[in-house]
Protein backbone atom coordinates (compact mmCIF):
# COMPACT_ATOMS: atom_id res chain seq x y z
CA UNK A 1 0.00 0.00 0.00
CA UNK A 2 1.29 3.45 -0.90
CA UNK A 3 1.24 6.23 1.67
CA UNK A 4 1.91 9.83 0.67
CA UNK A 5 3.76 12.09 3.08
CA UNK A 6 2.25 15.55 2.62
CA UNK A 7 3.36 19.04 3.63
CA UNK A 8 1.65 20.08 6.85
CA UNK A 9 2.61 23.73 6.45
CA UNK A 10 3.13 26.06 3.49
CA UNK A 11 6.78 26.78 2.89
CA UNK A 12 9.90 25.97 0.90
CA UNK A 13 11.51 22.55 0.98
CA UNK A 14 14.71 23.01 2.99
CA UNK A 15 15.85 19.43 2.50
CA UNK A 16 14.75 15.83 2.22
CA UNK A 17 16.61 13.70 4.74
CA UNK A 18 15.83 10.23 3.35
CA UNK A 19 16.73 8.48 0.11
CA UNK A 20 14.72 6.20 -2.11
CA UNK A 21 14.89 2.67 -0.73
CA UNK A 22 15.38 3.81 2.89
CA UNK A 23 13.31 2.10 5.55
CA UNK A 24 11.52 4.60 7.79
CA UNK A 25 9.48 4.23 10.95
CA UNK A 26 6.44 6.19 12.09
CA UNK A 27 7.49 9.47 13.67
CA UNK A 28 10.83 9.60 11.86
CA UNK A 29 11.87 12.90 10.28
CA UNK A 30 11.82 12.59 6.50
CA UNK A 31 12.02 16.21 5.32
CA UNK A 32 12.24 19.80 6.50
CA UNK A 33 10.10 22.74 5.38
CA UNK A 34 11.18 26.33 5.83
CA UNK A 35 8.39 28.72 6.81
CA UNK A 36 8.36 31.86 8.96
CA UNK A 37 12.18 31.67 8.86
CA UNK A 38 11.84 28.51 10.93
CA UNK A 39 12.74 24.96 9.99
CA UNK A 40 9.69 22.74 10.46
CA UNK A 41 10.21 18.98 10.47
CA UNK A 42 8.03 16.67 8.42
CA UNK A 43 7.54 13.21 9.92
CA UNK A 44 6.47 9.87 8.47
CA UNK A 45 3.08 8.99 9.87
CA UNK A 46 3.63 5.24 9.46
CA UNK A 47 6.36 2.68 8.86
CA UNK A 48 7.42 2.02 5.28
CA UNK A 49 10.07 2.11 2.60
CA UNK A 50 10.71 5.31 0.61
CA UNK A 51 9.38 4.53 -2.86
CA UNK A 52 9.80 7.94 -4.45
CA UNK A 53 10.73 11.49 -3.55
CA UNK A 54 8.53 14.04 -5.30
CA UNK A 55 10.20 17.27 -4.22
CA UNK A 56 13.56 18.98 -4.26
CA UNK A 57 15.19 21.79 -2.34
CA UNK A 58 13.43 25.20 -2.72
CA UNK A 59 10.21 23.70 -4.10
CA UNK A 60 7.25 25.68 -2.77
CA UNK A 61 4.75 23.67 -0.74
CA UNK A 62 1.14 24.40 0.05
CA UNK A 63 -0.56 22.64 2.89
CA UNK A 64 -1.24 19.09 1.66
CA UNK A 65 1.32 19.13 -1.17
CA UNK A 66 2.61 15.56 -1.75
CA UNK A 67 6.29 15.22 -0.84
CA UNK A 68 7.30 11.58 -0.48
CA UNK A 69 5.64 8.26 -1.31
CA UNK A 70 6.17 5.37 1.09
CA UNK A 71 5.46 1.71 0.39
CA UNK A 72 3.97 0.39 3.60
Amino acid sequence: MEITVKAHMPGLVARVVVNEGDKVTAGQEVAVINCMKTEIQVFAESDGVVKSILVKEWDEMEIGSPMIILEA
Binding site: M9, P10, N34, C35, M36, K37, T38, E62, I63
Partner: protein, 327 residues
Protein backbone atom coordinates in the same frame (compact mmCIF):
# COMPACT_ATOMS: atom_id res chain seq x y z
CA UNK B 1 -2.82 23.94 34.65
CA UNK B 2 -2.23 22.83 31.09
CA UNK B 3 0.35 20.21 30.16
CA UNK B 4 1.59 20.51 26.62
CA UNK B 5 1.53 17.32 24.53
CA UNK B 6 2.54 18.94 21.22
CA UNK B 7 3.59 22.57 20.92
CA UNK B 8 2.68 22.60 17.23
CA UNK B 9 4.33 24.92 14.72
CA UNK B 10 4.69 28.02 16.90
CA UNK B 11 2.62 28.45 20.05
CA UNK B 12 3.42 31.28 22.44
CA UNK B 13 1.99 33.09 25.46
CA UNK B 14 1.05 36.66 24.54
CA UNK B 15 -0.85 39.50 26.16
CA UNK B 16 -1.80 42.98 24.91
CA UNK B 17 -0.55 45.66 24.46
CA UNK B 18 2.65 43.81 25.25
CA UNK B 19 5.85 45.23 26.66
CA UNK B 20 5.50 48.88 25.85
CA UNK B 21 7.74 51.72 26.98
CA UNK B 22 11.13 50.19 26.19
CA UNK B 23 11.65 51.00 22.52
CA UNK B 24 14.42 53.42 23.46
CA UNK B 25 16.27 50.49 24.97
CA UNK B 26 15.91 48.43 21.81
CA UNK B 27 13.15 46.22 23.17
CA UNK B 28 10.18 45.60 20.93
CA UNK B 29 6.69 45.42 22.35
CA UNK B 30 5.84 41.83 21.36
CA UNK B 31 2.19 41.12 22.27
CA UNK B 32 -0.57 39.20 20.54
CA UNK B 33 -0.25 39.19 16.76
CA UNK B 34 -4.05 39.38 16.57
CA UNK B 35 -5.19 41.38 19.58
CA UNK B 36 -8.82 41.20 18.49
CA UNK B 37 -8.97 37.39 18.62
CA UNK B 38 -7.11 37.43 21.96
CA UNK B 39 -9.27 40.26 23.30
CA UNK B 40 -12.54 38.52 22.42
CA UNK B 41 -11.22 35.21 23.80
CA UNK B 42 -10.56 37.01 27.07
CA UNK B 43 -13.92 38.77 27.19
CA UNK B 44 -15.66 35.41 26.71
CA UNK B 45 -13.97 33.94 29.79
CA UNK B 46 -14.41 37.01 32.01
CA UNK B 47 -10.87 38.41 31.75
CA UNK B 48 -9.67 41.87 30.90
CA UNK B 49 -9.17 41.97 27.07
CA UNK B 50 -5.38 42.31 27.37
CA UNK B 51 -4.86 39.30 29.66
CA UNK B 52 -2.34 36.71 28.48
CA UNK B 53 -3.62 33.85 26.36
CA UNK B 54 -2.18 31.21 24.07
CA UNK B 55 -1.39 32.15 20.47
CA UNK B 56 -1.22 29.25 18.01
CA UNK B 57 0.36 29.95 14.62
CA UNK B 58 -0.15 27.37 11.88
CA UNK B 59 -1.58 24.69 14.13
CA UNK B 60 -1.07 21.19 15.57
CA UNK B 61 -1.13 22.31 19.21
CA UNK B 62 -2.24 19.63 21.67
CA UNK B 63 -2.46 19.74 25.47
CA UNK B 64 -4.10 18.17 28.49
CA UNK B 65 -5.89 20.12 31.21
CA UNK B 66 -4.66 19.22 34.68
CA UNK B 67 -7.38 21.27 36.37
CA UNK B 68 -10.97 22.22 35.59
CA UNK B 69 -11.17 25.50 33.67
CA UNK B 70 -13.29 27.67 31.42
CA UNK B 71 -11.72 28.42 28.06
CA UNK B 72 -12.57 29.97 24.72
CA UNK B 73 -11.07 29.40 21.30
CA UNK B 74 -11.01 32.20 18.73
CA UNK B 75 -9.19 33.12 15.53
CA UNK B 76 -8.85 30.86 12.51
CA UNK B 77 -10.80 27.62 12.69
CA UNK B 78 -8.16 24.96 13.31
CA UNK B 79 -10.93 22.41 13.90
CA UNK B 80 -10.25 22.17 17.63
CA UNK B 81 -11.47 19.11 19.50
CA UNK B 82 -11.84 18.22 23.15
CA UNK B 83 -11.39 14.50 23.72
CA UNK B 84 -11.78 14.11 19.93
CA UNK B 85 -15.18 15.88 19.91
CA UNK B 86 -15.43 19.19 17.98
CA UNK B 87 -15.71 22.31 20.12
CA UNK B 88 -17.22 25.64 19.03
CA UNK B 89 -15.21 28.78 18.39
CA UNK B 90 -16.10 32.23 19.75
CA UNK B 91 -17.80 30.97 22.92
CA UNK B 92 -16.71 29.88 26.38
CA UNK B 93 -16.76 26.23 27.38
CA UNK B 94 -16.04 24.34 30.58
CA UNK B 95 -13.23 21.80 30.47
CA UNK B 96 -12.43 19.21 33.09
CA UNK B 97 -9.25 17.80 34.49
CA UNK B 98 -7.94 15.17 32.08
CA UNK B 99 -9.56 16.66 28.96
CA UNK B 100 -7.31 16.82 25.91
CA UNK B 101 -7.58 19.75 23.48
CA UNK B 102 -6.22 19.25 19.99
CA UNK B 103 -5.93 21.53 16.98
CA UNK B 104 -5.51 20.73 13.29
CA UNK B 105 -4.08 23.38 10.97
CA UNK B 106 -5.19 26.88 9.95
CA UNK B 107 -8.36 27.17 7.92
CA UNK B 108 -9.47 28.61 4.60
CA UNK B 109 -9.28 32.04 6.23
CA UNK B 110 -6.80 33.23 8.86
CA UNK B 111 -3.60 31.78 10.27
CA UNK B 112 -3.64 32.12 14.07
CA UNK B 113 -5.93 30.73 16.75
CA UNK B 114 -6.11 31.83 20.39
CA UNK B 115 -7.07 30.12 23.61
CA UNK B 116 -8.41 32.34 26.36
CA UNK B 117 -8.45 30.87 29.86
CA UNK B 118 -10.54 32.21 32.74
CA UNK B 119 -7.98 33.83 35.03
CA UNK B 120 -5.39 34.12 32.26
CA UNK B 121 -2.04 32.44 31.89
CA UNK B 122 0.10 32.72 34.99
CA UNK B 123 3.63 33.43 33.80
CA UNK B 124 5.96 35.99 35.39
CA UNK B 125 5.74 39.60 34.31
CA UNK B 126 8.92 40.66 32.54
CA UNK B 127 9.13 44.45 32.41
CA UNK B 128 5.38 44.67 32.89
CA UNK B 129 4.21 42.11 30.33
CA UNK B 130 3.57 38.38 30.05
CA UNK B 131 4.28 38.43 26.31
CA UNK B 132 6.89 36.21 24.72
CA UNK B 133 9.58 37.95 22.68
CA UNK B 134 10.80 35.04 20.57
CA UNK B 135 13.74 36.90 19.11
CA UNK B 136 14.92 38.19 22.46
CA UNK B 137 14.20 34.89 24.27
CA UNK B 138 12.45 36.56 27.18
CA UNK B 139 8.93 36.86 28.54
CA UNK B 140 6.06 34.39 28.25
CA UNK B 141 6.98 30.83 29.09
CA UNK B 142 10.76 30.80 29.51
CA UNK B 143 11.13 33.17 26.57
CA UNK B 144 10.30 30.57 23.95
CA UNK B 145 7.53 28.78 22.11
CA UNK B 146 5.75 25.99 23.98
CA UNK B 147 6.96 22.42 23.67
CA UNK B 148 6.10 18.95 24.92
CA UNK B 149 5.87 18.56 28.72
CA UNK B 150 5.74 22.29 29.47
CA UNK B 151 3.12 23.07 32.12
CA UNK B 152 1.25 26.38 32.04
CA UNK B 153 -0.42 27.64 35.21
CA UNK B 154 -3.67 29.57 35.15
CA UNK B 155 -4.59 32.68 37.14
CA UNK B 156 -7.64 33.12 39.33
CA UNK B 157 -10.91 33.45 37.38
CA UNK B 158 -12.98 36.59 37.89
CA UNK B 159 -16.08 34.52 38.80
CA UNK B 160 -16.90 30.91 39.56
CA UNK B 161 -16.39 28.69 36.52
CA UNK B 162 -20.01 27.67 36.05
CA UNK B 163 -21.08 31.30 35.66
CA UNK B 164 -18.43 31.89 32.98
CA UNK B 165 -19.25 28.94 30.71
CA UNK B 166 -21.60 29.15 27.73
CA UNK B 167 -20.92 32.83 27.02
CA UNK B 168 -21.23 33.75 23.35
CA UNK B 169 -20.56 36.76 21.17
CA UNK B 170 -23.09 38.77 19.26
CA UNK B 171 -22.79 37.60 15.62
CA UNK B 172 -21.66 41.06 14.52
CA UNK B 173 -18.79 40.98 17.05
CA UNK B 174 -17.10 38.04 15.35
CA UNK B 175 -14.42 39.47 13.04
CA UNK B 176 -14.69 38.89 9.32
CA UNK B 177 -11.74 37.09 7.79
CA UNK B 178 -10.52 37.33 4.23
CA UNK B 179 -7.66 36.41 1.97
CA UNK B 180 -7.14 40.07 1.13
CA UNK B 181 -6.66 42.01 4.35
CA UNK B 182 -7.49 45.70 4.04
CA UNK B 183 -5.29 47.77 6.34
CA UNK B 184 -5.93 51.44 6.96
CA UNK B 185 -2.64 53.32 6.86
CA UNK B 186 -1.25 56.82 7.38
CA UNK B 187 1.56 57.89 5.01
CA UNK B 188 4.95 58.65 6.50
CA UNK B 189 7.45 59.37 7.82
CA UNK B 190 9.43 58.72 4.57
CA UNK B 191 6.96 59.45 1.85
CA UNK B 192 6.50 61.56 -1.30
CA UNK B 193 7.85 63.91 -2.48
CA UNK B 194 11.10 63.47 -0.52
CA UNK B 195 11.63 59.70 -0.58
CA UNK B 196 9.09 58.16 -2.96
CA UNK B 197 7.55 59.75 -6.01
CA UNK B 198 3.81 60.32 -6.04
CA UNK B 199 3.61 57.33 -8.38
CA UNK B 200 5.58 55.29 -5.84
CA UNK B 201 3.12 56.06 -3.07
CA UNK B 202 0.17 55.45 -5.40
CA UNK B 203 1.68 52.07 -6.23
CA UNK B 204 1.69 51.06 -2.56
CA UNK B 205 -1.94 52.05 -2.08
CA UNK B 206 -3.27 50.84 -5.43
CA UNK B 207 -2.02 47.25 -5.36
CA UNK B 208 -2.48 44.12 -3.29
CA UNK B 209 0.75 42.78 -1.84
CA UNK B 210 1.24 39.07 -1.27
CA UNK B 211 2.41 37.91 2.18
CA UNK B 212 5.70 36.06 1.77
CA UNK B 213 6.58 32.71 3.31
CA UNK B 214 9.44 34.11 5.38
CA UNK B 215 7.12 36.27 7.47
CA UNK B 216 7.08 35.80 11.22
CA UNK B 217 6.47 37.60 14.52
CA UNK B 218 9.25 40.04 13.76
CA UNK B 219 8.20 41.17 10.32
CA UNK B 220 5.77 40.38 7.56
CA UNK B 221 7.50 40.57 4.22
CA UNK B 222 5.41 41.48 1.22
CA UNK B 223 6.09 40.65 -2.42
CA UNK B 224 8.91 42.61 -4.04
CA UNK B 225 7.55 45.83 -5.52
CA UNK B 226 9.71 46.19 -8.59
CA UNK B 227 7.67 49.13 -9.89
CA UNK B 228 8.09 51.19 -6.74
CA UNK B 229 9.60 54.50 -7.82
CA UNK B 230 11.90 56.44 -5.54
CA UNK B 231 12.38 60.20 -5.45
CA UNK B 232 16.14 60.01 -4.88
CA UNK B 233 18.73 58.35 -7.14
CA UNK B 234 20.41 56.71 -4.14
CA UNK B 235 20.53 56.78 -0.36
CA UNK B 236 23.45 59.23 -0.20
CA UNK B 237 25.84 58.47 2.65
CA UNK B 238 23.37 55.89 3.99
CA UNK B 239 23.83 53.52 1.05
CA UNK B 240 23.59 53.01 -2.68
CA UNK B 241 19.92 52.03 -2.88
CA UNK B 242 17.44 54.91 -2.45
CA UNK B 243 15.55 52.97 0.23
CA UNK B 244 18.53 53.57 2.54
CA UNK B 245 18.37 56.35 5.10
CA UNK B 246 20.57 57.14 8.06
CA UNK B 247 19.57 54.90 10.98
CA UNK B 248 16.43 56.13 12.66
CA UNK B 249 13.81 54.84 15.08
CA UNK B 250 11.16 52.62 13.54
CA UNK B 251 7.62 53.38 14.61
CA UNK B 252 6.69 49.79 15.41
CA UNK B 253 4.12 48.25 15.51
CA UNK B 254 2.78 48.77 12.01
CA UNK B 255 5.48 50.63 10.12
CA UNK B 256 5.95 49.66 6.47
CA UNK B 257 9.68 49.43 5.93
CA UNK B 258 10.94 49.67 2.36
CA UNK B 259 14.04 47.51 2.19
CA UNK B 260 15.43 47.65 -1.32
CA UNK B 261 12.23 47.11 -3.29
CA UNK B 262 10.68 44.86 -0.65
CA UNK B 263 7.95 46.31 1.56
CA UNK B 264 8.14 44.82 5.06
CA UNK B 265 5.62 45.36 7.85
CA UNK B 266 7.39 45.66 11.19
CA UNK B 267 5.23 44.27 13.94
CA UNK B 268 5.27 42.50 17.32
CA UNK B 269 8.90 41.48 17.81
CA UNK B 270 10.19 43.80 15.10
CA UNK B 271 13.36 45.90 15.11
CA UNK B 272 13.20 49.20 16.95
CA UNK B 273 15.58 51.04 14.63
CA UNK B 274 17.36 50.67 11.35
CA UNK B 275 18.46 52.27 8.12
CA UNK B 276 15.57 51.82 5.72
CA UNK B 277 12.79 54.20 4.90
CA UNK B 278 9.31 53.76 6.34
CA UNK B 279 6.67 54.78 3.82
CA UNK B 280 3.46 54.36 5.77
CA UNK B 281 2.06 53.23 9.06
CA UNK B 282 -0.79 50.79 9.65
CA UNK B 283 -3.19 52.13 12.24
CA UNK B 284 -3.30 50.41 15.62
CA UNK B 285 -6.92 49.29 15.16
CA UNK B 286 -6.00 47.24 12.07
CA UNK B 287 -2.79 45.58 13.31
CA UNK B 288 -4.74 42.42 14.20
CA UNK B 289 -5.39 41.63 10.55
CA UNK B 290 -1.66 41.27 9.87
CA UNK B 291 -1.58 38.38 12.36
CA UNK B 292 -4.19 36.50 10.35
CA UNK B 293 -2.41 36.95 7.01
CA UNK B 294 -1.35 33.49 5.89
CA UNK B 295 2.22 33.33 4.57
CA UNK B 296 2.43 32.39 0.91
CA UNK B 297 -1.34 32.70 0.37
CA UNK B 298 -2.95 35.95 1.52
CA UNK B 299 -2.68 39.51 0.26
CA UNK B 300 -2.53 42.88 1.97
CA UNK B 301 -4.08 46.06 0.62
CA UNK B 302 -3.47 49.48 2.11
CA UNK B 303 -6.14 52.17 2.17
CA UNK B 304 -5.49 55.79 3.08
CA UNK B 305 -6.51 56.88 6.55
CA UNK B 306 -6.27 60.12 8.51
CA UNK B 307 -5.04 60.42 12.07
CA UNK B 308 -8.54 61.42 13.21
CA UNK B 309 -10.01 58.28 11.65
CA UNK B 310 -7.28 56.21 13.30
CA UNK B 311 -8.10 57.60 16.75
CA UNK B 312 -11.80 56.96 16.22
CA UNK B 313 -11.10 53.39 15.02
CA UNK B 314 -9.09 52.74 18.15
CA UNK B 315 -11.95 53.95 20.35
CA UNK B 316 -14.34 51.70 18.47
CA UNK B 317 -12.00 48.75 18.95
CA UNK B 318 -11.98 49.32 22.72
CA UNK B 319 -15.78 49.08 22.68
CA UNK B 320 -15.57 45.96 20.49
CA UNK B 321 -13.19 44.19 22.86
CA UNK B 322 -15.47 44.55 25.86
CA UNK B 323 -18.42 42.78 27.43
CA UNK B 324 -20.67 44.88 25.18
CA UNK B 325 -19.83 42.28 22.50
CA UNK B 326 -21.34 39.42 24.52
CA UNK B 327 -24.68 38.04 23.32
Amino acid sequence: MLKIINGGIETVVEDWPGRIGYLDNGMSSSGAFDNVALGLANVLVGNQPGEAGIEIAGGYFQAEFETDAVISVTGTDMKPTLNNQPIPLWESIKVNKGDVIKFSHFAEFGFRAYIGVAGGIDVPLVLGSKSTCLFGSYGGYEGRKLQKDDVLKFGKPSKDLDSLKGRKLKPEAIPEYSREWVLRAIPGPNTSPDYLTKEGMDYLFANSHKVQLNSNRSAVRLAEASELSFARPDGGVAGSHPSNVLDHAYAIRGSLNICGNTPILLIADGPTLGGYMSALHVINADLWKIGQGTPGRDFIKFVFCTQEEAVEARKQQREWLSEKSLA
